[in-house]
Symmetry: C2
């Protein structure tokens, strides 16, 4: 009998914290990716299972809301489970707890399946839609609508895709997009504020040595909209929104 | 009674592998850093203990030799222990094993203690030299000599220090230096060869947005010498040597 939910435990390591000595948002996104991967493997719909059909998973959207970023050596317990499907998308939610099982954050993700040869998205295949969903999960809210578009960028920063940013598909691991979104903000925000939420829509993949432009615009004192663009062809790679406290 | 050696176990996570689907050298360096940190904390000579005296640990050299890079979900067991001191340096060794307890690699490291206010190295303080060393450790070879200097760079690549490359001291985490050393090599090496060893001497710290130039020169078919330089003042940040198979 397959488990419809999965718990994954992490202890924040000393190289996983940022200048504030807290697990960075990149670390949190990586933990979510690891928990989702472990559960998908358990359900026999992991990357290796899809590869047998020449398919792979593509993350299309990720929203993370954090009440508390744990410090070094603190425990993070991630509960994750799929909440549903539609024709092209699979939805998976996450709740993050501390060692005392108090909620410290939650996240929602949207995934599609890509045919590797055709390089295009396919309808969610039956091996995925046939899995059992949890009957009474604690958090079933589904990501809807869109991320607000940037209008007049006020801040801009450039990045180059590094060799070690790549995953086994030779594409940039999605957590680096999140990193570049955040890093496009002014120093004063990064140094003095704490991230409360990030919502990112992934549009295009990037490869080694691509030059990425991160643009940001403040919508109010505590909020920004963001866009990542590839320098060479000005294609939009991602749209995002962040809130800060 | 404090333990003179420490075991730290890691399971390679899905975001910790490189394009070859193996734990990257950056991942390995991070595991070593975590194991060393855990042991130093246990011995009450960790970063937090040194900070009480306004001191901090500085990694001055790291040599890693790998026979095998484990794949995703494989276990890596790290055994670590200090092997000795001299006036300015503390030496710590590591052996890496797979789940079957077969050796897959070993590493040596050299550390100094910096006075944070004076920003200079101090002699190894008594709280460190008073710890007990293991009586019969399996691997006591100490790093000696120097890394060969680069003469005529053949390859060059540039990098910019990212916000999330920084540690809690606002300085670049040492594993990124290793990343830039490797990434300065030509694509053909990164794609077709496997790293056998890296030996790096750390010279200077770097901060956010510093531009780093990585230079490399092949010394034979399977070996390179490397240098990292800061663009703005041409100061040498690190010297390294790598071998490949």
């Amino acid at each position: 009998m397959k488990q419809t939910t999965l718990w994954a435990d992490f202890v924040v390591r000393n190289y996983e914290v940022d200048v504030h000595n807290r697990a960075s948002i990149v670390t949190i996104a990586n933990y979510l990716q690891e928990a989702a991967g472990q559960h998908a493997d358990h359900l026999e719909i992991g990357v290796r299972d899809l590869l047998k059909h020449d398919w792979t998973w593509v993350l299309t959207r990720l929203k993370i809301e954090m009440q508390h970023f744990p410090a070094q050596q603190e425990v993070i317990k991630v509960l994750t489970y799929p909440i549903g499907f539609d024709k092209y998308f699979v939805y998976r939610n996450f709740i993050l707890f501390n060692a005392q099982e108090e909620e410290i954050g939650r996240a929602q993700s949207t995934w599609a399946v890509m045919d590797i040869q055709a390089r295009k998205m396919i309808g969610v295949p039956e091996i995925i839609t046939s899995i059992s969903l949890p009957t009474d999960p604690p958090f079933v809210e589904q990501l809807k609508g869109r991320v607000a578009k940037i209008k007049a960028p006020q801040y801009q920063e450039s990045f180059k895709v590094r060799w070690f940013d790549l995953d086994t598909n030779n594409h940039t691991n999605n957590a680096y997009y999140l990193q570049w979104v955040i890093e496009s903000l002014p120093e004063e925000v990064l140094k003095n504020k704490q991230l409360a939420s990030v919502d990112i829509m992934y549009r295009m993949e990037t490869v080694w040595k691509d030059e990425i432009i991160g643009k940001a615009e403040s919508t109010d004192d505590q909020s920004f909209v963001h866009q990542l663009v590839r320098q060479s062809d000005q294609k939009e790679l991602a749209q995002a929104a962040t809130t800060w406290r």
